[in-house]
Symmetry: C2
Subunit: 334 residues, 2 copies
């Protein structure tokens, strides 16, 4: 069992792996971690992974056998585990609790070569549906307060396997960054009786300088206050707090826009590593008037250095106006 | 002039380089950035840098000529510039101001080969004295609210030149992360009438599990809530908010402990890249009862991925108890 430890000054929590600690030798070989022998996420290697929690197997077949198009499994090296009690406690000035939670892997395709930008709209919608289904299912567990879904693509984004996958981590606390966003949105709502994200979206649509793409349900743009070069956000046009309640129609629209944006990113920046993070409301209360869910897509192009660690400020060498133009002009391969 | 832009929801500021924007091509070659032809920080190449702001030239000599042992210059590619007005303004929901501030480089030695861990105690104390002198001098500028001093060592830590140097950035606002620390320390002080850092330090000394080294004035340890593997903090034993007011005796003690810690890091982890950040109180008010200055030393061993961006939580695979033992056991080269 790992430990969650809380900083008494900033209130930040960290997950500390007290079970299988890494010594110095673990960091020596890190750059070759993606290079792999037999891939546990490929067809026929199902026995190499923990059993499936959720699966899409359109032609039927036995659990943990072939025939699947998408699988969700527990992470083999989980940051948090679903068994056990939280056992919140203190040691002097410090607070800690047990590393209770869920850590799942969404294997998005059986095909080792295809990346998310190559998926059909239907395949991408299937991934989004898996995200929704797993989010909704985990809400039954009263210990869990927040579900984070994210994808690391490419070695320098933190991916350890190249086979296309994303991850879900469900946490027993609402993390600080999410709380910050929620509180900021609440403050804005109190002040203006409107959603801050809706207002920012309207302004982006009016100014039209940082937009990259849009369709009936979603808008993609490089936000005015981008922390990173070529950072993109995808927001639903309608004010909605909860990603998992998205309609099937909206899901298809999101799949279309995501495929286009991933294609533009790949074309403009020569297939860069990236992270995307799904920002959605905490599990309870289920509806928050103030919040507006969205996706943040961050290509990994710069390094985080002392200045950023010290301030929480980022130095962004590419204004979003410039980034958006490059992304709009990128030549998409059909 | 760059722009400082503020996120209306989280209140985070970013520095956006609207002057000389980087396009996609700027990110293609990044990995070879440290490899250098003629080094602008070496002896005899003084004309390649902006003129010196501060210098240590024990044997005398002309400004910007040879004979120096340490030079401070303006960054040739500054994130912020000292000229001009802040001009705080809004554009719809967004806030911005001009990129006014200081961005200086401390060239720590004329010798291209020697790194900070190789310095004598006197040389390291000279670097610390330069930090103090520059911090104190910039306090005369009423537009500036915070001075951050940090060092990026090695390519993956964000360093762009290998010649040993550190940086100073003075900002027109107190950055969010610093505010977070200050507020947390204030809350703790209100609750307990004691300094949170002093209490944490006492507990670290009592538990004795995460200590790495100590002397008369300073203690070095891997903090209980380490975000990163082998993270180390160096705290003054005495409760002091302001780094720049440190006595000459304390400066020598810090130089001794820093050299030892940098040596231990190098020995335990095979010369890893690292960042260190000097956390000190904002410029005004000059004395804060609640704050306790310190240095955070972070080797760059893991990658920041989607989970960390989404939550502000870190997953640390090496508990500080384990890291401290490896660091204590490291064989130091004399």
């Amino acid at each position: 069992m790992s430990e969650l430890r809380r900083d008494p000054i900033t209130g930040r929590w960290n997950i500390i792996d007290t079970d299988q600690p890494d010594g110095p030798e673990a960091f020596a070989q890190e750059t070759s971690a993606v290079a792999s022998g037999r891939c546990p996420f490929c067809y026929g290697n199902e026995a190499m992974t923990p059993p499936e929690i959720y699966v899409q197997r359109p032609a039927g077949g036995l659990p943990n056998g072939p025939g699947w198009t998408l699988r969700v499994i527990s992470n083999k090296f989980p940051a948090l585990k679903i068994e056990g009690d939280l056992n919140r406690r203190g040691i002097g000035v410090f607070d800690l609790c047990n590393g209770v939670g869920a850590h799942e892997v969404i294997i998005e395709t059986p095909d080792h070569q295809r990346q998310m930008a190559d998926f059909t709209h239907e395949e991408l919608a299937a991934v989004l549906n898996a995200y929704k289904a797993r989010s909704l299912d985990l809400r039954g567990d009263r210990r869990l307060k927040y579900t984070l879904i994210f994808k690391n693509y490419g070695l320098s984004s933190g991916a350890s396997l190249e086979h296309s996958h994303s991850q879900l981590i469900a946490l027993p606390i609402v993390p600080k960054r999410v709380q910050e966003e929620l509180k900021g949105a609440e403050r804005y709502f109190e002040f203006r009786d409107r959603c801050a994200f809706c207002d920012a979206l309207q302004q982006e649509l009016q100014e039209d300088e940082r937009l990259v793409g849009e369709n009936r349900s979603f808008v993609a743009y490089c936000p005015y206050v981008s922390s990173f070069p070529f950072e993109m956000w995808i927001l639903p046009r309608e004010h909605r707090a909860d990603f998992a309640k998205m309609s099937q129609e909206a899901t298809m629209d999101l799949a279309r826009l995501m495929k286009e944006m991933l294609g533009r990113l790949r074309a403009a920046l020569n297939n860069p590593p990236y992270n995307f993070i799904l920002h959605t409301a905490p599990i309870e209360p289920r509806e928050r008037e103030e919040y507006h869910w969205h996706i943040e897509l961050i290509p990994k192009l710069t390094k985080i250095a002392g200045f950023e660690w010290g301030t929480g400020f980022y130095i962004n060498p590419t204004p979003p106006e410039v980034a958006a133009k490059f992304l709009r002009d990128a030549r998409l391969v059909a």
